[in-house]
Protein backbone atom coordinates (compact mmCIF):
# COMPACT_ATOMS: atom_id res chain seq x y z
CA UNK A 1 0.00 0.00 0.00
CA UNK A 2 1.22 3.53 -0.68
CA UNK A 3 1.07 6.52 1.63
CA UNK A 4 -0.75 8.75 -0.88
CA UNK A 5 -4.00 7.84 0.80
CA UNK A 6 -5.09 9.34 4.08
CA UNK A 7 -7.23 6.25 4.61
CA UNK A 8 -6.99 2.91 2.90
CA UNK A 9 -9.19 -0.03 3.81
CA UNK A 10 -9.12 -3.50 2.28
CA UNK A 11 -11.60 -6.31 2.82
CA UNK A 12 -13.09 -4.98 6.04
CA UNK A 13 -15.50 -7.38 7.68
CA UNK A 14 -17.45 -6.95 10.88
CA UNK A 15 -20.53 -8.70 12.24
CA UNK A 16 -22.51 -8.05 15.40
CA UNK A 17 -23.60 -11.58 16.29
CA UNK A 18 -25.24 -13.01 13.17
CA UNK A 19 -25.81 -9.59 11.59
CA UNK A 20 -23.09 -8.52 9.16
CA UNK A 21 -22.34 -4.81 9.41
CA UNK A 22 -19.42 -4.66 6.95
CA UNK A 23 -18.95 -7.11 4.09
CA UNK A 24 -15.53 -6.94 2.40
CA UNK A 25 -15.45 -3.17 2.30
CA UNK A 26 -12.65 -1.50 0.34
CA UNK A 27 -12.19 2.25 0.66
CA UNK A 28 -9.54 4.69 -0.43
CA UNK A 29 -9.55 8.33 0.61
CA UNK A 30 -7.00 10.46 -1.21
CA UNK A 31 -5.00 12.98 0.81
CA UNK A 32 -6.43 16.48 0.40
CA UNK A 33 -9.82 15.33 -0.85
CA UNK A 34 -13.27 15.77 0.66
CA UNK A 35 -14.71 12.28 0.52
CA UNK A 36 -18.35 11.52 1.18
CA UNK A 37 -19.34 8.23 2.77
CA UNK A 38 -22.99 7.82 1.89
CA UNK A 39 -25.61 5.27 2.71
CA UNK A 40 -28.99 4.85 4.33
CA UNK A 41 -29.29 4.01 8.03
CA UNK A 42 -27.83 0.57 8.73
CA UNK A 43 -25.60 0.62 5.64
CA UNK A 44 -22.43 0.23 7.74
CA UNK A 45 -21.12 3.82 7.68
CA UNK A 46 -20.92 4.22 11.45
CA UNK A 47 -19.37 0.77 11.94
CA UNK A 48 -16.71 1.73 9.40
CA UNK A 49 -15.96 4.95 11.30
CA UNK A 50 -15.87 3.07 14.61
CA UNK A 51 -13.40 0.60 13.12
CA UNK A 52 -11.29 3.49 11.84
CA UNK A 53 -11.02 4.90 15.38
CA UNK A 54 -10.45 1.47 16.92
CA UNK A 55 -13.74 1.56 18.82
CA UNK A 56 -14.77 -1.81 17.43
CA UNK A 57 -12.56 -4.77 16.58
CA UNK A 58 -12.73 -5.91 12.95
CA UNK A 59 -13.33 -9.57 12.13
CA UNK A 60 -11.10 -9.29 9.06
CA UNK A 61 -9.45 -6.78 6.77
CA UNK A 62 -6.71 -4.22 6.78
CA UNK A 63 -7.10 -0.56 7.64
CA UNK A 64 -4.32 1.99 7.26
CA UNK A 65 -4.25 5.67 8.17
CA UNK A 66 -1.51 7.64 6.43
CA UNK A 67 0.23 4.31 5.88
CA UNK A 68 0.08 3.25 9.53
CA UNK A 69 -1.56 -0.03 10.49
CA UNK A 70 -4.23 -0.66 13.12
CA UNK A 71 -1.73 -1.97 15.65
CA UNK A 72 0.65 0.99 15.48
CA UNK A 73 0.65 2.87 18.77
CA UNK A 74 0.35 6.30 17.15
CA UNK A 75 -1.98 5.28 14.35
CA UNK A 76 -4.48 8.02 15.29
CA UNK A 77 -1.83 10.76 14.98
CA UNK A 78 -3.21 13.39 12.62
CA UNK A 79 -6.70 11.89 12.70
CA UNK A 80 -9.69 13.28 14.53
CA UNK A 81 -13.42 13.65 14.33
CA UNK A 82 -16.51 12.16 15.83
CA UNK A 83 -18.81 9.18 15.39
CA UNK A 84 -22.55 9.78 15.68
CA UNK A 85 -23.59 12.67 17.93
CA UNK A 86 -20.56 13.98 19.85
CA UNK A 87 -20.78 13.10 23.55
CA UNK A 88 -19.22 15.03 26.42
CA UNK A 89 -19.25 15.05 30.22
CA UNK A 90 -22.50 16.88 30.98
CA UNK A 91 -21.39 18.11 34.42
CA UNK A 92 -18.29 19.85 33.00
CA UNK A 93 -18.33 23.08 31.00
CA UNK A 94 -17.59 23.08 27.29
CA UNK A 95 -14.19 24.61 27.99
CA UNK A 96 -13.35 22.01 30.68
CA UNK A 97 -14.33 19.21 28.31
CA UNK A 98 -11.92 20.60 25.73
CA UNK A 99 -9.18 20.95 28.38
CA UNK A 100 -9.65 17.31 29.33
CA UNK A 101 -9.52 16.14 25.70
CA UNK A 102 -6.52 18.33 25.00
CA UNK A 103 -4.74 16.72 27.96
CA UNK A 104 -5.54 13.28 26.48
CA UNK A 105 -3.75 14.24 23.24
CA UNK A 106 -0.08 14.20 22.32
CA UNK A 107 -0.26 16.84 19.60
CA UNK A 108 2.73 19.16 19.32
CA UNK A 109 1.75 22.68 18.30
CA UNK A 110 -1.95 22.05 18.80
CA UNK A 111 -4.19 25.11 18.45
CA UNK A 112 -5.37 26.71 21.66
CA UNK A 113 -8.79 26.06 23.13
CA UNK A 114 -9.80 29.70 22.57
CA UNK A 115 -8.88 29.46 18.91
CA UNK A 116 -11.02 26.38 18.20
CA UNK A 117 -13.90 27.79 20.25
CA UNK A 118 -13.75 30.92 18.08
CA UNK A 119 -13.64 28.84 14.90
CA UNK A 120 -16.86 27.03 15.77
CA UNK A 121 -18.59 30.08 17.29
CA UNK A 122 -18.87 28.79 20.87
CA UNK A 123 -16.76 31.32 22.80
CA UNK A 124 -19.69 32.95 24.58
CA UNK A 125 -21.20 29.64 25.74
CA UNK A 126 -17.96 27.82 26.57
CA UNK A 127 -18.27 28.28 30.33
CA UNK A 128 -21.72 26.71 30.54
CA UNK A 129 -22.16 23.06 31.48
CA UNK A 130 -22.51 20.82 28.45
CA UNK A 131 -25.63 19.25 30.02
CA UNK A 132 -27.47 22.41 29.00
CA UNK A 133 -26.21 22.47 25.41
CA UNK A 134 -28.52 21.99 22.43
CA UNK A 135 -27.76 19.29 19.87
CA UNK A 136 -26.36 21.92 17.51
CA UNK A 137 -24.03 23.27 20.23
CA UNK A 138 -22.77 19.76 20.96
CA UNK A 139 -22.07 19.33 17.24
CA UNK A 140 -20.04 22.56 17.31
CA UNK A 141 -18.18 21.43 20.43
CA UNK A 142 -17.50 18.10 18.71
CA UNK A 143 -15.99 19.96 15.80
CA UNK A 144 -13.90 22.10 18.19
CA UNK A 145 -12.66 18.94 19.92
CA UNK A 146 -11.70 17.49 16.55
CA UNK A 147 -9.85 20.64 15.46
CA UNK A 148 -7.86 20.59 18.73
CA UNK A 149 -5.91 17.64 17.36
CA UNK A 150 -4.72 19.67 14.37
CA UNK A 151 -5.85 16.83 12.10
CA UNK A 152 -4.68 15.91 8.63
CA UNK A 153 -7.76 13.71 8.31
CA UNK A 154 -11.01 15.05 9.73
CA UNK A 155 -13.80 12.50 10.10
CA UNK A 156 -17.29 13.93 10.52
CA UNK A 157 -20.41 11.84 11.03
CA UNK A 158 -23.48 13.78 9.87
CA UNK A 159 -21.98 17.01 11.23
CA UNK A 160 -24.91 19.29 10.42
CA UNK A 161 -27.32 17.14 12.39
CA UNK A 162 -29.11 19.56 14.73
CA UNK A 163 -27.68 22.70 13.14
CA UNK A 164 -29.99 25.43 11.89
CA UNK A 165 -29.67 26.45 8.21
CA UNK A 166 -27.21 29.24 9.06
CA UNK A 167 -25.12 26.88 11.19
CA UNK A 168 -25.21 24.29 8.44
CA UNK A 169 -23.99 26.86 5.92
CA UNK A 170 -21.16 27.92 8.28
CA UNK A 171 -20.17 24.29 8.73
CA UNK A 172 -19.99 23.70 5.00
CA UNK A 173 -17.81 26.78 4.62
CA UNK A 174 -15.60 25.55 7.45
CA UNK A 175 -15.22 22.11 5.85
CA UNK A 176 -14.53 23.63 2.45
CA UNK A 177 -11.97 26.03 4.00
CA UNK A 178 -10.27 23.15 5.79
CA UNK A 179 -10.08 21.19 2.53
CA UNK A 180 -8.64 24.23 0.75
CA UNK A 181 -5.87 24.28 3.38
CA UNK A 182 -4.99 20.71 2.39
CA UNK A 183 -6.93 18.83 5.06
CA UNK A 184 -8.52 15.52 4.07
CA UNK A 185 -12.17 15.29 5.12
CA UNK A 186 -14.26 12.13 5.35
CA UNK A 187 -17.86 13.22 5.60
CA UNK A 188 -20.47 10.65 6.53
CA UNK A 189 -24.08 11.25 5.56
CA UNK A 190 -27.29 9.57 4.50
CA UNK A 191 -28.33 12.54 2.37
CA UNK A 192 -26.87 13.10 -1.09
CA UNK A 193 -28.03 16.72 -1.15
CA UNK A 194 -25.93 17.39 1.99
CA UNK A 195 -22.66 16.40 0.32
CA UNK A 196 -23.35 17.55 -3.26
CA UNK A 197 -21.15 20.54 -4.05
CA UNK A 198 -18.95 19.92 -1.03
CA UNK A 199 -17.24 16.62 -1.80
CA UNK A 200 -14.80 15.58 -4.52
CA UNK A 201 -15.23 11.85 -4.10
CA UNK A 202 -17.97 9.59 -2.89
CA UNK A 203 -18.37 6.04 -1.67
CA UNK A 204 -21.87 4.66 -1.37
CA UNK A 205 -22.46 1.86 1.11
CA UNK A 206 -25.49 -0.37 1.00
CA UNK A 207 -26.20 -3.26 3.38
CA UNK A 208 -22.59 -3.31 4.59
CA UNK A 209 -20.97 -3.39 1.15
CA UNK A 210 -19.61 -0.77 -1.24
CA UNK A 211 -22.23 -0.08 -3.91
CA UNK A 212 -20.27 2.60 -5.73
CA UNK A 213 -17.05 4.54 -5.31
CA UNK A 214 -15.43 7.24 -7.42
CA UNK A 215 -15.42 10.94 -8.11
CA UNK A 216 -18.52 13.09 -7.74
CA UNK A 217 -18.17 14.09 -11.39
CA UNK A 218 -18.05 10.41 -12.35
CA UNK A 219 -21.19 9.73 -10.41
CA UNK A 220 -22.87 12.75 -11.97
CA UNK A 221 -21.94 11.47 -15.45
CA UNK A 222 -23.47 8.09 -14.70
CA UNK A 223 -26.56 9.49 -13.06
CA UNK A 224 -29.89 9.09 -14.85
CA UNK A 225 -31.72 12.08 -16.32
CA UNK A 226 -33.50 14.33 -13.83
CA UNK A 227 -37.15 13.61 -13.14
CA UNK A 228 -39.64 16.50 -13.12
CA UNK A 229 -43.28 16.75 -12.28
CA UNK A 230 -45.30 18.49 -14.98
CA UNK A 231 -48.88 19.75 -14.80
CA UNK A 232 -50.47 20.93 -18.05
CA UNK A 233 -53.85 22.08 -19.30
CA UNK A 234 -54.27 18.70 -21.07
CA UNK A 235 -52.13 15.93 -19.57
CA UNK A 236 -53.55 13.24 -21.88
CA UNK A 237 -52.53 15.18 -25.00
CA UNK A 238 -49.15 15.97 -23.43
CA UNK A 239 -48.57 12.25 -22.82
CA UNK A 240 -49.08 11.66 -26.53
CA UNK A 241 -46.22 14.03 -27.40
CA UNK A 242 -43.64 11.94 -25.52
CA UNK A 243 -40.59 10.83 -27.54
CA UNK A 244 -38.02 8.08 -26.90
CA UNK A 245 -35.71 10.75 -25.37
CA UNK A 246 -38.47 12.21 -23.22
CA UNK A 247 -40.04 9.52 -21.06
CA UNK A 248 -43.42 10.60 -19.76
CA UNK A 249 -45.82 8.74 -17.50
CA UNK A 250 -48.74 9.60 -15.31
CA UNK A 251 -47.68 10.84 -11.87
CA UNK A 252 -49.48 8.99 -9.06
CA UNK A 253 -50.17 12.29 -7.30
CA UNK A 254 -51.56 13.98 -10.42
CA UNK A 255 -49.95 15.49 -13.52
CA UNK A 256 -47.10 13.84 -15.37
CA UNK A 257 -43.71 12.48 -14.49
CA UNK A 258 -41.09 13.48 -17.09
CA UNK A 259 -37.59 12.01 -17.27
CA UNK A 260 -35.30 13.79 -19.74
CA UNK A 261 -32.13 15.81 -20.06
CA UNK A 262 -32.58 19.56 -19.61
CA UNK A 263 -32.19 20.18 -23.36
CA UNK A 264 -34.76 17.50 -24.30
CA UNK A 265 -37.14 18.81 -21.64
CA UNK A 266 -36.86 22.32 -23.15
CA UNK A 267 -37.76 20.96 -26.57
CA UNK A 268 -40.68 19.00 -25.11
CA UNK A 269 -42.08 22.09 -23.38
CA UNK A 270 -41.81 24.09 -26.63
CA UNK A 271 -43.61 21.26 -28.45
CA UNK A 272 -46.42 21.39 -25.85
CA UNK A 273 -46.78 25.13 -26.41
CA UNK A 274 -46.82 24.65 -30.17
CA UNK A 275 -49.64 22.09 -29.71
CA UNK A 276 -51.64 24.59 -27.65
CA UNK A 277 -51.06 22.82 -24.32
CA UNK A 278 -50.33 25.23 -21.46
CA UNK A 279 -47.71 24.33 -18.87
CA UNK A 280 -49.14 25.12 -15.44
CA UNK A 281 -46.22 23.90 -13.33
CA UNK A 282 -42.88 22.22 -13.84
CA UNK A 283 -40.77 21.24 -10.84
CA UNK A 284 -37.68 19.09 -10.35
CA UNK A 285 -38.79 15.96 -8.52
CA UNK A 286 -35.55 14.02 -8.07
CA UNK A 287 -32.09 15.42 -8.76
CA UNK A 288 -29.90 13.12 -10.88
CA UNK A 289 -27.40 12.39 -8.10
CA UNK A 290 -30.18 11.59 -5.69
CA UNK A 291 -31.77 9.33 -8.27
CA UNK A 292 -28.45 7.50 -8.68
CA UNK A 293 -28.09 7.20 -4.92
CA UNK A 294 -31.58 5.75 -4.53
CA UNK A 295 -30.92 3.28 -7.32
CA UNK A 296 -27.60 2.20 -5.76
CA UNK A 297 -28.91 1.78 -2.24
CA UNK A 298 -32.35 0.52 -3.14
CA UNK A 299 -33.80 3.03 -0.73
CA UNK A 300 -37.07 4.81 -1.28
CA UNK A 301 -37.33 8.56 -1.30
Amino acid sequence: MTATYALEARGLRKAYGDRPALRDVDLQVREGSVHALLGPNGAGKTTLLRALFGLVHLDAGELRLFGRGLDDGDRLAGVSGFVETPAFYPYLTGRSNLRLLSAYDDVPGAPGIEQVLREVGLVTRADERVGGYSLGMRQRLGLAAALLRRPRLLVLDEPDNGLDPAGSRELRALVRGAADRGLTVLLCSHDMAEVDGLCDEVTVLSRGAVAWTGSMSGMRAQAPDPTSRLVTSDDRAALGLATPRVRVQVHPAGGLCVEATTADLDRYVLALAAAGIAVRSLALEVAPLEQAYFALTGSAR
Binding site: Y16, T47, R50, F53, G54, L55, V56, H57, G73, D74, L76, A77, S80, G81, F82, V83, E84, T85, P86, A87, F88, Y89, P90, Y91, L92, S96, L100, L101, A103, Y104, D105, D106, V107, A145, R149
Partner: protein, 272 residues
Protein backbone atom coordinates in the same frame (compact mmCIF):
# COMPACT_ATOMS: atom_id res chain seq x y z
CA UNK B 1 3.42 12.88 32.48
CA UNK B 2 2.55 9.30 31.61
CA UNK B 3 -0.82 8.60 30.00
CA UNK B 4 -2.35 6.93 33.06
CA UNK B 5 -1.34 9.83 35.33
CA UNK B 6 -3.04 12.32 33.00
CA UNK B 7 -6.19 10.22 33.19
CA UNK B 8 -5.84 9.97 37.00
CA UNK B 9 -5.68 13.76 37.29
CA UNK B 10 -8.79 14.31 35.18
CA UNK B 11 -10.74 11.49 36.83
CA UNK B 12 -10.12 13.19 40.18
CA UNK B 13 -11.30 16.52 38.70
CA UNK B 14 -14.44 14.79 37.38
CA UNK B 15 -15.10 13.09 40.73
CA UNK B 16 -14.70 16.42 42.51
CA UNK B 17 -17.40 18.07 40.39
CA UNK B 18 -20.02 15.34 40.95
CA UNK B 19 -22.75 15.97 43.48
CA UNK B 20 -22.90 12.44 44.92
CA UNK B 21 -19.15 12.49 45.63
CA UNK B 22 -19.43 15.91 47.27
CA UNK B 23 -22.26 14.58 49.45
CA UNK B 24 -20.10 11.63 50.53
CA UNK B 25 -17.18 13.95 51.32
CA UNK B 26 -19.47 16.11 53.45
CA UNK B 27 -20.91 13.03 55.18
CA UNK B 28 -17.41 11.78 56.04
CA UNK B 29 -16.39 15.22 57.28
CA UNK B 30 -19.51 16.17 59.22
CA UNK B 31 -21.02 12.80 60.18
CA UNK B 32 -18.70 12.04 63.13
CA UNK B 33 -18.91 15.59 64.61
CA UNK B 34 -22.70 15.39 64.29
CA UNK B 35 -22.66 12.07 66.16
CA UNK B 36 -20.38 13.55 68.83
CA UNK B 37 -22.66 16.57 69.16
CA UNK B 38 -25.71 14.34 69.60
CA UNK B 39 -23.94 12.30 72.28
CA UNK B 40 -22.54 15.44 73.97
CA UNK B 41 -25.97 17.03 74.15
CA UNK B 42 -27.39 13.75 75.43
CA UNK B 43 -29.84 13.67 72.49
CA UNK B 44 -29.35 9.90 72.59
CA UNK B 45 -27.52 7.56 74.92
CA UNK B 46 -24.26 5.86 73.87
CA UNK B 47 -24.80 2.68 71.76
CA UNK B 48 -23.63 0.39 74.59
CA UNK B 49 -24.23 -2.86 72.67
CA UNK B 50 -21.56 -2.07 70.04
CA UNK B 51 -17.78 -2.30 70.26
CA UNK B 52 -16.55 0.85 72.06
CA UNK B 53 -20.08 2.23 72.20
CA UNK B 54 -20.07 2.26 75.99
CA UNK B 55 -16.74 4.15 76.16
CA UNK B 56 -17.47 7.03 73.76
CA UNK B 57 -17.95 9.50 76.63
CA UNK B 58 -14.91 8.20 78.50
CA UNK B 59 -12.08 8.38 75.98
CA UNK B 60 -11.56 10.39 72.78
CA UNK B 61 -10.43 7.55 70.46
CA UNK B 62 -13.48 5.42 71.41
CA UNK B 63 -15.80 7.44 69.16
CA UNK B 64 -13.46 6.91 66.20
CA UNK B 65 -13.36 3.15 66.89
CA UNK B 66 -17.16 3.07 67.24
CA UNK B 67 -17.43 4.75 63.79
CA UNK B 68 -14.84 2.31 62.39
CA UNK B 69 -16.80 -0.70 63.61
CA UNK B 70 -20.01 0.69 62.15
CA UNK B 71 -18.33 1.73 58.87
CA UNK B 72 -16.98 -1.79 58.33
CA UNK B 73 -20.50 -3.14 58.13
CA UNK B 74 -21.72 -1.18 55.10
CA UNK B 75 -20.32 2.37 54.96
CA UNK B 76 -16.93 1.37 53.56
CA UNK B 77 -18.42 -0.88 50.83
CA UNK B 78 -20.72 2.05 50.01
CA UNK B 79 -17.72 4.40 49.74
CA UNK B 80 -16.08 1.94 47.34
CA UNK B 81 -19.29 1.68 45.33
CA UNK B 82 -19.97 5.42 45.10
CA UNK B 83 -16.43 6.21 43.99
CA UNK B 84 -15.46 3.23 41.83
CA UNK B 85 -18.81 1.76 40.79
CA UNK B 86 -19.61 4.61 38.46
CA UNK B 87 -16.18 5.42 37.04
CA UNK B 88 -16.49 3.12 34.04
CA UNK B 89 -20.26 2.72 33.71
CA UNK B 90 -20.79 6.50 33.60
CA UNK B 91 -18.79 6.57 30.33
CA UNK B 92 -21.30 4.09 28.91
CA UNK B 93 -24.25 6.08 30.21
CA UNK B 94 -22.97 9.37 28.76
CA UNK B 95 -21.66 7.75 25.56
CA UNK B 96 -18.23 9.27 26.19
CA UNK B 97 -16.08 6.19 25.53
CA UNK B 98 -16.10 7.12 21.86
CA UNK B 99 -14.97 10.65 22.79
CA UNK B 100 -11.99 9.70 24.93
CA UNK B 101 -10.98 6.67 22.89
CA UNK B 102 -10.56 8.80 19.77
CA UNK B 103 -7.69 10.69 21.44
CA UNK B 104 -4.13 9.51 22.03
CA UNK B 105 -4.66 7.83 25.40
CA UNK B 106 -4.93 4.03 25.12
CA UNK B 107 -7.60 1.85 26.72
CA UNK B 108 -4.89 0.66 29.11
CA UNK B 109 -4.10 4.26 30.11
CA UNK B 110 -7.78 4.86 30.78
CA UNK B 111 -8.18 1.67 32.81
CA UNK B 112 -5.08 2.23 34.94
CA UNK B 113 -5.85 5.95 35.41
CA UNK B 114 -9.41 5.26 36.50
CA UNK B 115 -8.40 2.49 38.92
CA UNK B 116 -5.73 4.77 40.41
CA UNK B 117 -8.35 7.51 40.76
CA UNK B 118 -10.71 5.12 42.54
CA UNK B 119 -7.96 4.01 44.93
CA UNK B 120 -6.85 7.60 45.57
CA UNK B 121 -10.41 8.71 46.28
CA UNK B 122 -11.34 5.85 48.63
CA UNK B 123 -8.08 6.23 50.56
CA UNK B 124 -8.71 9.97 50.87
CA UNK B 125 -12.28 9.40 52.06
CA UNK B 126 -11.12 6.77 54.57
CA UNK B 127 -8.48 9.18 55.90
CA UNK B 128 -11.06 11.95 56.12
CA UNK B 129 -13.49 9.74 58.06
CA UNK B 130 -10.68 8.57 60.39
CA UNK B 131 -9.40 12.06 61.14
CA UNK B 132 -12.85 13.58 61.45
CA UNK B 133 -14.05 10.86 63.87
CA UNK B 134 -10.85 11.02 65.92
CA UNK B 135 -11.01 14.81 66.19
CA UNK B 136 -14.72 14.67 67.10
CA UNK B 137 -14.04 12.01 69.73
CA UNK B 138 -11.18 13.97 71.27
CA UNK B 139 -13.37 17.08 71.44
CA UNK B 140 -16.17 15.04 73.02
CA UNK B 141 -14.26 13.01 75.60
CA UNK B 142 -10.73 14.40 75.74
CA UNK B 143 -7.51 12.44 75.97
CA UNK B 144 -8.23 10.02 78.76
CA UNK B 145 -6.87 6.43 78.62
CA UNK B 146 -8.75 3.96 76.45
CA UNK B 147 -10.01 0.60 77.67
CA UNK B 148 -8.58 -2.17 75.46
CA UNK B 149 -10.56 -5.18 74.23
CA UNK B 150 -8.89 -7.35 76.91
CA UNK B 151 -9.85 -4.85 79.59
CA UNK B 152 -6.38 -3.32 79.79
CA UNK B 153 -5.90 0.44 79.94
CA UNK B 154 -4.14 2.04 76.99
CA UNK B 155 -2.34 5.35 77.52
CA UNK B 156 -3.88 8.30 75.60
CA UNK B 157 -0.97 8.82 73.19
CA UNK B 158 -0.75 5.13 72.35
CA UNK B 159 -4.54 4.95 72.02
CA UNK B 160 -4.48 7.65 69.33
CA UNK B 161 -1.72 5.82 67.43
CA UNK B 162 -3.54 2.48 67.69
CA UNK B 163 -6.76 4.11 66.54
CA UNK B 164 -5.08 5.50 63.42
CA UNK B 165 -3.44 2.11 62.79
CA UNK B 166 -6.86 0.47 63.17
CA UNK B 167 -8.19 2.64 60.36
CA UNK B 168 -5.17 1.67 58.28
CA UNK B 169 -5.97 -2.02 58.80
CA UNK B 170 -9.32 -1.72 57.00
CA UNK B 171 -7.59 -0.48 53.87
CA UNK B 172 -7.09 -3.98 52.33
CA UNK B 173 -10.79 -4.99 52.46
CA UNK B 174 -11.74 -1.50 51.29
CA UNK B 175 -9.48 -1.95 48.26
CA UNK B 176 -11.02 -5.40 47.78
CA UNK B 177 -14.50 -3.84 47.62
CA UNK B 178 -13.11 -1.17 45.27
CA UNK B 179 -11.99 -3.95 42.94
CA UNK B 180 -15.48 -5.47 43.15
CA UNK B 181 -17.00 -2.09 42.23
CA UNK B 182 -14.58 -1.62 39.32
CA UNK B 183 -15.30 -5.09 37.96
CA UNK B 184 -19.07 -4.62 38.25
CA UNK B 185 -18.83 -1.20 36.62
CA UNK B 186 -16.86 -2.52 33.63
CA UNK B 187 -18.65 -5.84 33.18
CA UNK B 188 -22.26 -4.72 33.67
CA UNK B 189 -21.81 -1.19 32.23
CA UNK B 190 -24.41 -0.20 34.81
CA UNK B 191 -23.84 2.50 37.42
CA UNK B 192 -26.58 1.02 39.60
CA UNK B 193 -24.85 -2.37 39.68
CA UNK B 194 -21.46 -0.74 40.26
CA UNK B 195 -22.62 1.44 43.16
CA UNK B 196 -25.15 -0.87 44.83
CA UNK B 197 -23.32 -4.14 44.11
CA UNK B 198 -20.54 -3.73 46.71
CA UNK B 199 -23.08 -2.63 49.37
CA UNK B 200 -25.33 -5.62 48.73
CA UNK B 201 -22.32 -7.94 48.65
CA UNK B 202 -21.12 -6.48 51.95
CA UNK B 203 -24.51 -7.01 53.59
CA UNK B 204 -24.79 -10.53 52.20
CA UNK B 205 -21.34 -11.45 53.53
CA UNK B 206 -22.20 -9.92 56.92
CA UNK B 207 -25.27 -12.15 57.10
CA UNK B 208 -23.24 -15.16 56.00
CA UNK B 209 -20.67 -14.49 58.70
CA UNK B 210 -23.44 -14.74 61.31
CA UNK B 211 -24.40 -18.23 60.16
CA UNK B 212 -23.02 -20.79 62.58
CA UNK B 213 -20.73 -23.66 61.60
CA UNK B 214 -19.02 -21.86 58.71
CA UNK B 215 -15.58 -22.07 60.31
CA UNK B 216 -12.94 -21.63 57.62
CA UNK B 217 -15.41 -20.14 55.14
CA UNK B 218 -15.72 -17.11 57.39
CA UNK B 219 -12.01 -16.36 56.78
CA UNK B 220 -12.69 -16.28 53.03
CA UNK B 221 -15.35 -13.57 53.31
CA UNK B 222 -14.26 -10.11 52.16
CA UNK B 223 -16.02 -8.49 55.13
CA UNK B 224 -14.11 -10.45 57.77
CA UNK B 225 -10.89 -8.36 57.50
CA UNK B 226 -12.94 -5.25 58.40
CA UNK B 227 -12.69 -6.40 62.03
CA UNK B 228 -8.97 -7.29 61.90
CA UNK B 229 -8.25 -4.11 63.86
CA UNK B 230 -9.62 -5.77 67.00
CA UNK B 231 -6.29 -7.59 67.19
CA UNK B 232 -4.47 -4.30 67.74
CA UNK B 233 -6.45 -3.47 70.86
CA UNK B 234 -6.07 -6.71 72.80
CA UNK B 235 -3.42 -7.05 75.51
CA UNK B 236 -1.35 -9.23 73.15
CA UNK B 237 -1.38 -7.72 69.68
CA UNK B 238 -2.68 -10.31 67.17
CA UNK B 239 -2.16 -9.54 63.51
CA UNK B 240 -2.96 -13.00 62.15
CA UNK B 241 -6.45 -12.09 60.96
CA UNK B 242 -5.06 -8.91 59.36
CA UNK B 243 -2.51 -10.92 57.38
CA UNK B 244 -5.17 -13.43 56.34
CA UNK B 245 -7.37 -10.54 55.25
CA UNK B 246 -4.53 -8.88 53.33
CA UNK B 247 -3.93 -12.09 51.36
CA UNK B 248 -7.67 -12.44 50.69
CA UNK B 249 -7.91 -8.86 49.44
CA UNK B 250 -4.79 -9.25 47.30
CA UNK B 251 -6.46 -12.25 45.70
CA UNK B 252 -9.58 -10.19 44.95
CA UNK B 253 -7.44 -7.49 43.34
CA UNK B 254 -5.39 -10.04 41.39
CA UNK B 255 -8.48 -11.71 39.94
CA UNK B 256 -11.00 -8.90 39.50
CA UNK B 257 -8.81 -6.12 38.10
CA UNK B 258 -7.23 -8.18 35.28
CA UNK B 259 -10.72 -9.52 34.48
CA UNK B 260 -12.11 -5.99 34.20
CA UNK B 261 -9.09 -4.78 32.22
CA UNK B 262 -9.39 -7.62 29.75
CA UNK B 263 -13.10 -6.90 29.29
CA UNK B 264 -12.41 -3.22 28.64
CA UNK B 265 -9.60 -3.89 26.17
CA UNK B 266 -11.60 -6.43 24.17
CA UNK B 267 -15.01 -4.85 24.07
CA UNK B 268 -16.57 -3.11 21.09
CA UNK B 269 -17.67 0.44 21.78
CA UNK B 270 -20.71 0.13 19.57
CA UNK B 271 -23.50 1.82 21.47
CA UNK B 272 -24.33 5.47 20.87
Amino acid sequence: MSGALVVLRWELVKLGTQLRVRVVVLACLLGPPALALGLGLRLSGPPVDTVYGRYVLDSGPALSLLVLGFAGMWVLPLLAGVVAGDLFASEDAAGTWKTVLTRDRSRDDLFVGKVLAAVTAVVALLALLALSSLAAGLLLAGTRPLVGLSGQLIAPGRAVVLTLLSWLLVLPPLLGFTAVAVALSVLTRSSVAGVAGPVLLGLLLQVLSLVGGLGLVRHALLTTPFSAWHGLLTSRVALGSFLQGAVLCALHLAVLLPLARRALLRRDVAAA
